[in-house]
Symmetry: C2
Subunit: 269 residues, 2 copies
């Protein structure tokens, strides 16, 4: 089984992804697609006069401040992308089925009660942020659908005891892959993989193992760091490999499965 995550930040060729997914599905491979929607959510928020605000954690990591209205906007934008992907797969003969996290509790998590933000050098505690972490995936529902030939297309938000919450798509995909016992997790992004020099596409780090993970994390900033952490979580849960690969251009998933990108593998504890 293969789990593929595509970002919602733009750059990934959605038609090329649907082509690849249809080929894999047609060849009898069981596939689950996970996607985000940060790019469309930002665009919709701006169109509605409610642009996103980003908060910076003391660690320096930036994230979307998700109040109730931002979550509603995010939910709408992600749903439009979900329908686009499902319709794209259906047009290629794949019986795709879109699931938002609350649907059948496919993604369950917990809201962060407090988020610490740094603004103008001062720390501020934010308590109304509707984001958190995925803790559980409804494996039986996904297996039921996969057994019947459906291709699940999963997106945040997740469901928490406090209602829907925004969660990180890469880590959600890692937990989906771990729960289903997938062999490979493909994380598509808009760079060739982990780069030694962000400005130099030729500086690709081709492999990361448990021995070199700390070194890799030291190279990675922002979103790439989250992808490496998601990869580590997936491998610790028993996956064989995670490929962080370029989603731009033709055959992005096929190329990732050929090992083009940063392949993370090895034994983890």
């Amino acid at each position: 089984m293969i789990v593929v995550k595509i970002g919602g930040g733009g750059g990934v060729d959605l038609d090329a992804c649907c082509d690849d997914l249809a080929r894999l599905h047609g060849a009898g491979e069981r596939v689950v697609l996970v996607h985000g929607g940060s790019g469309p959510a930002t665009a919709l928020g701006e169109a509605l006069g409610y642009p996103p605000r980003f908060i910076t954690a003391p660690s320096g990591v930036s994230s979307r401040y998700t109040d109730a209205r931002t979550l509603e906007i995010f939910t709408m934008a992600v749903a439009a992308l979900n329908t686009q992907l499902v319709a794209g797969l259906q047009a290629r003969g794949v019986n795709a089925i879109g699931l938002s996290g609350p649907d059948g509790r496919v993604l369950e998590g917990r809201r962060k009660e407090a988020v610490v933000a740094v603004e103008d050098g001062k720390r501020r505690v934010i308590r109304d942020d509707r984001s958190g972490t995925v803790e559980r995936v409804n494996g039986p529902l996904l297996r039921l659908l996969l057994e019947q030939g459906y291709l699940p297309v999963i997106s945040p938000p997740a469901l928490s005891p406090d209602g829907p919450i925004n969660v990180d798509g890469d880590r959600a995909a890692a937990l989906v892959a771990a729960t289903l016992g997938a062999g490979t997790l493909v994380l598509l992004t808009n760079v060739p993989g982990l780069l030694r020099e962000v400005s130099d596409p030729a500086s690709l780090v081709e492999t990361v193992t448990s021995e070199t993970m700390d070194e890799a994390l030291a190279l990675a900033g922002g979103r790439m760091r989250v992808k490496l952490l998601a990869a580590r979580e997936a491998l610790a849960a028993g996956l064989e490999r995670v490929v962080i690969a370029d989603g731009r251009g033709e055959r992005p998933i096929a190329r990732a499965l050929e090992g083009r990108g940063t392949v993370v593998s090895g034994a983890w504890h």
Copy 2:
């Protein structure tokens, strides 16, 4: 089995509906919820500076002109309502699962190739309208989910060979009910049922049978007429009864099942 349709036009008490659905589900009844989203879609279109335009057919019936952008806005608004309903049911312990028409091809239909509109007394043929009619419901998928204890929450758009299309929610609900062999279809709206005098809530028509359907249709305008036609379709397909009832206030579904509203029943051919 019971199929409940709630309009998206406002007025229906969503929390009271979720309470009723949770009670029915908890009592072991199999339930499917279908909903529209015309109200939120209009509000979102206006907020985005792309308000809906309505076209009037030669018959006098008005409908939303659905170009690509309008369909996208409709899809987003309906998805937000779907997530709200699913989360509301989940909070009440019901494992609800939201499905848009393209998901697993749960609602399949056909696009109208041409729509005739009357503007300033002149007829105009519109060929880019993305709306049509539901022709098929994925019964096996719904039965699979119902058997596992899920409560499906279904909404337009439907999937057509030309991509997603806007379809009428009442007629979609009628076909869902017919496909599943449901006993009762409840159509909740923001009036007490079919009224002899639209301005007089006391003029409720309590029963409609095959003998009195033509008379009922002559009384009904606009959306109520579509509900009666949907009811006729559902009964012709074997349903026992359709209740057109008030969705405002407490226990709207329980009251409808007690026969409060316009009960349509009888033998149809």
